[in-house]
């Protein structure tokens, strides 16, 4: 029985945030939050009260207080569906002679920038790589994404040291042309303050939204220990590459646009929900951010779930969010503390699975894998 104790406790915590959100979401405008509503089950009571011990009770008040009376509640009507399924591979791969196992990587320890790499399926060793001459000119790179035309977008981030990544040049978005493979500066995105020795990061994650043909970018540039100054940016790709909307004072990490209710639950009474999943760079939470049909942001993000306490270290952040075909969430965790310490080889990337529970209408933790 006790083998599941850890999971049970953690699930309890997950419930805390979900229920906390639900509570705050159901509060009527200008109403006092009623934590003693009869509909609160014993489990919820335990969870909310446990949260008081852990300090999470404060989060109930926080999100409640942050909500302006005019902001609509956001309760998921069904599992999420991804909005990046239209991405296409670039054509510059054609003629390079790679096999089917070719992929793009910014994590090769011996290479700067981005590279097309191919690994032997048996030995798992790299057997080939290729870089356009422009791919190593801008220092170490990190997150990247394709769009529906095969153009590739990538952001820089320092690795181990700042030798190849001067802080002043970190708020950059680069574009790799789908046909020529040439990499060029696409945008110097806005930051609250430039990256520096105390916070050498700017862009953290990048994802593509097919519905609006735009990029979502999370940045922590300018943030300080006691002050979140990061931004979530929506970057339109046509007619020109430019920031179209932004959420300020939030340090985001993994990010993914979603739809809910319409794709997987056709006919649902509250279909066509859409929004962003945004992971916090400061803790293990993943938040929901509502958006309008045109991609503009609506209100402030609400905590949806957390991986705090899960995994081999219990202290990961979600650096990447994948939404599966059945709406399941695969969260890629990594230690992150606003420094250049690298996760050790013993702590390989951890993936956390959450699945939609149609009974509770919430995402529930399933397992983690290394």
């Amino acid at each position: 029985m006790s083998k599941n104790r850890a999971r049970a406790r953690v699930e309890l915590q997950k419930t805390v945030t979900l229920e906390a959100q639900k509570l705050s979401a159901t509060i009527k405008p200008n109403a006092q939050p009623k934590r003693t509503e009869k509909r609160i089950t014993k489990r919820i009571t335990v969870a909310v009260l446990l949260s008081a011990l852990l300090g999470l009770g404060a989060s109930v008040a926080f999100w409640t207080s942050k909500r302006s009376p005019s902001e609509p509640a956001f309760i998921l009507q069904g599992p999420l569906s991804a909005r990046n399924g239209c991405r296409r591979p670039p054509t510059f791969f054609n003629g390079l002679g790679f096999g089917r196992g070719v992929s793009l990587s910014t994590a090769e320890r011996d290479l700067i920038g981005i590279a097309a790499v191919e690994f032997d399926s048996n030995t798992k060793k790299r057997i080939r790589y290729w870089q356009h001459p422009s791919w190593s000119k801008f220092g170490q790179l990190s997150a990247f994404t394709l769009d529906r035309q095969g153009d590739l977008y990538v952001i820089p981030a320092p690795r181990v040291n700042l030798a190849d990544n001067p802080p002043a040049l970190q708020n950059r978005l680069y574009r790799i042309d789908a046909s020529t493979g040439e990499m060029q500066l696409a945008l110097a995105f806005p930051v609250a303050a430039a990256a520096n020795a105390r916070n050498p990061y700017a862009g953290m994650a990048l994802s593509y939204d097919c519905n609006t043909h735009s990029l979502w970018l999370s940045s922590v540039a300018g943030s300080e220990p006691s002050r979140e100054r990061g931004k979530i940016l929506r970057i339109q790709l046509q007619p020109s590459i430019a920031v179209q909307d932004q959420l300020d004072d939030f340090d985001g990490f993994g990010i993914a646009a979603f739809s809910a209710g319409s794709t997987l639950q056709a006919g649902a009474d509250k279909a066509n929900q859409q929004g962003l999943l945004i992971a916090s760079a400061r803790h293990g939470s993943v938040l929901l951010q509502a958006m309008n049909k045109d991609g503009s942001l609506q209100g402030r993000p609400l905590t949806m779930l957390s991986i705090a306490g899960l995994g081999p270290l219990g202290n990961d952040r979600v650096r990447k969010i994948d939404i599966g075909s059945q709406g399941e969430l695969l969260l890629h965790g990594t230690p992150f503390n606003f420094n250049l310490a690298q996760p050790s080889a013993q702590h390989a990337a951890v993936k956390y699975r959450f699945a939609w529970d149609s009974v509770t209408r919430q995402y529930q933790f399933v397992d983690w894998q290394q």
Partner: protein, 614 residues
């Protein structure tokens, strides 16, 4: 009372009833920002084992003295006791539980014995299919030496062990005896007493009666030890203590006064752990402000930087300014058998920094003794990668030794464990003497006249090749400060030539540069130079102007020693190995340390800047 432990949720419900039901009005801040309700954290200091820990250690020793491989559970039901006996008699245990060089076997304890569940038999390929018809029990053991759980399934009818399974990274169930011990360790600690406002419960029973108590899980990410988190709520204080069950000690305490609705705090959204607690304390105490240290005639400030290690500043000896600052700008690590392979690592604060290797505990101040007498003190900071001493994970140590006779020595040490046996470590020390009027001289063994004492003036910026000659007293350079024709103070700079502990010699490059404006190290320096140059091009040479500036308006000394690692048994250097000792695995450390000793010289009333040893 013991039932309470088995039902931590019950305890939480009760305590939550106390803490969760505050007036609703308090949850509605007027301005949406609420007044902060900061958490308080404390890392455990050095303390001797409590009576309960000593008693537990005695039980462990007695078990080993009886020849038992595993410390068994007592007061089990008859079937559970039988299953435990069968599992512990299995020969695989004696084979797999190692004995250390000290003769002490790895500490392995039985944590639980439970009847096998239906769900364990769902897989038709399971080797436990015989358990469908007969009673089987699962015996869970924890190997504290390797931080893994061992799980045996025992068929009680056939009296055989059906399987063994090892699980790493799993949080096991904690038995009652360890639960009680964890609570006792927490209760008896000064840190929990402080959190309770100094009114420590006199006994375990009083603690249990007066607080709502539960045992939660946590992680010790750095030590990889088995840790738990006893939590207590007494009055309006909620305390989260982290207890290391491998070392049987308190790691630290985080507490808060609840009853106030505060903004979502970073620290409390995550489950408190060894690392989060340590980082929070170090950030608050050592990254955001200076700490002043006054001892044996010395006075200095120290703080952790974002990328330049532990910096000391405003250093005075007997009221005289000696140093503006000293810091460790970078570590260059290169591997000779792989061209261009290596790392440039910065050390600094655990978060909001550009450090690749971060502190795992607060700076330490210890006494330096000679012949049993205190002659000085050492200020020291150790930095570690999370996976140290695993391959390609590093531990660096930065130290400042100060002696009551005016000597001082900044140094840097590597404690491995790099990516191979061909590694060379080059720490970049930046030393800025206080004020202007300094004159530097370099020793030369070639004498030009009978009166030549062997030291030649260094008047302009330049670098000095590795391993230069030293005089009979071991000095390679002298440094003297003059004002109005008078020598205020002077030092001989004595590099390591094997005379210092943990040193085979410094093989140092030295650079003298004029004190410059920002960008040359007076503020945070980003990565300086390449990791893998094997000559003088370690980075400081870029601050030597063309033409070279004069040094008379203030100078900076850059000291870049070179330490080559060695892994040969008995000759290890710049290395660390995990060894089984006293039942648990700890790293055996083989540091290599380098840094110059500054030896004060007596003032002479000659017009010359030259000085002679005291």
């Amino acid at each position: 009372m013991l039932h309470f432990f088995r039902k931590p949720i019950s305890a939480i419900v009760l305590l939550a009833l106390l803490v969760g039901c505050k007036p609703e009005a308090s949850m509605q801040p007027a301005d949406g920002l609420t007044s902060p309700n900061p958490l308080k954290q404390a890392l455990a200091g050095q303390s001797s084992d409590s009576e309960s820990v000593l008693a537990y250690r005695a039980l462990l020793q007695a078990s080993q003295a009886r020849g038992e491989v595993v410390f068994a559970l007592e007061n089990l039901s008859v079937p559970a006791a039988k299953a435990q006996a069968i599992a512990l008699a299995h020969p695989v245990l004696r084979e797999r539980v190692p004995v250390g060089a000290d003769g002490v076997r790895a500490r392995v304890e039985v944590l639980s014995v439970d009847r096998l569940r239906e769900s364990d038999l769902a897989d038709p390929s399971s080797p436990h299919q015989s358990c469908k018809n007969t009673e089987c029990q699962r015996v869970d053991l924890y190997d504290f030496s390797s931080s893994r759980m061992l799980s045996a399934v025992v068929n009680l009818q056939t009296e055989k062990v059906l399987s063994w399974r090892a699980l790493v990274g799993q949080q096991p169930e904690i038995p009652e005896r360890l639960t009680r011990l964890a609570l006792e360790i927490a209760r008896s600690s000064p840190e929990v007493k402080e959190a309770l406002g100094g009114s420590a419960p006199e006994s375990f029973e009083v603690l249990m009666a007066n607080t709502k108590t539960s045992l939660n899980e946590t992680h010790c990410e750095r030590s990889q030890h088995l840790c738990v988190a006893p939590t207590f709520v007494q009055g309006n204080i909620a305390i989260w203590a982290i207890v290391d069950l491998t070392d049987l000690k308190l790691v630290g305490v985080q507490w808060t006064e609840h009853g106030q609705a505060g903004p979502l705090s970073d620290a409390i959204v995550a489950v408190p752990s060894e690392q989060s607690l340590s980082d929070a304390v170090i950030m608050e105490k050592y990254c955001e402000r200076n700490t002043t240290l006054t001892k044996l005639g010395w006075r200095l400030d120290y703080m952790l930087t974002a990328s330049d290690g532990l910096q000391i500043s405003g250093v005075r000896f007997n009221e005289r300014s000696v140093l503006t600052s000293v810091k460790l700008v970078d570590w260059h690590v290169s591997y000779s058998e792989r061209e261009g392979f290596g790392y440039a690592d910065a050390v600094g604060c655990p978060s909001f920094s550009s450090a690749a290797v971060i502190p795992f505990q607060a700076p330490q101040v210890t006494e330096i003794k000679e012949a049993g007498l205190v002659v000085g003190f050492r200020l020291q900071q150790e930095f570690r990668s999370l996976g140290w001493p695993g391959p390609c994970n590093y531990s660096y140590q930065q130290s400042y030794d100060f002696y009551q006779d005016g000597r001082f020595r900044p140094s840097a040490a590597s404690i491995g464990a790099g990516c191979g046996n061909d590694g060379t470590y080059r720490p970049l020390l930046r030393i800025e003497p206080a004020g202007a009027g300094w004159a530097m001289q370099e020793y030369s063994p070639i004498k030009t006249s009978a009166s030549d004492i062997g030291f030649n003036d260094v008047t302009h910026e330049r670098w000095f090749d590795a391993n230069g000659a030293v005089d009979a007293a071991g000095a390679r350079f002298t440094l003297a400060q003059r004002q109005a024709g008078q020598v205020l103070q002077g030092f001989k700079i004595v590099p390591g030539r094997g005379q210092f502990k943990d040193s085979r010699g410094d093989f140092e490059y030295v650079y003298a540069t004029a004190k410059a404006a920002a960008g040359e190290g007076s503020d945070e320096l980003p990565t300086l130079g390449s990791c893998c140059n094997t000559d003088y091009r370690q980075g400081p040479e870029q601050f030597i102007d063309q033409p070279a500036q004069a040094l008379d308006q203030g100078l900076v000394i850059w000291y870049v020693p070179q330490m080559k690692n060695e892994l040969n048994p008995g000759r290890e250097y710049c290395w660390a190995n995990p060894v089984l000792e006293n039942g648990v695995v700890n790293p055996k450390r083989y540091p290599c340390e380098a840094g110059p000793m500054f030896v004060p010289v007596e003032k002479k009333s000659t017009p010359s800047d030259r000085v002679s040893p005291t």
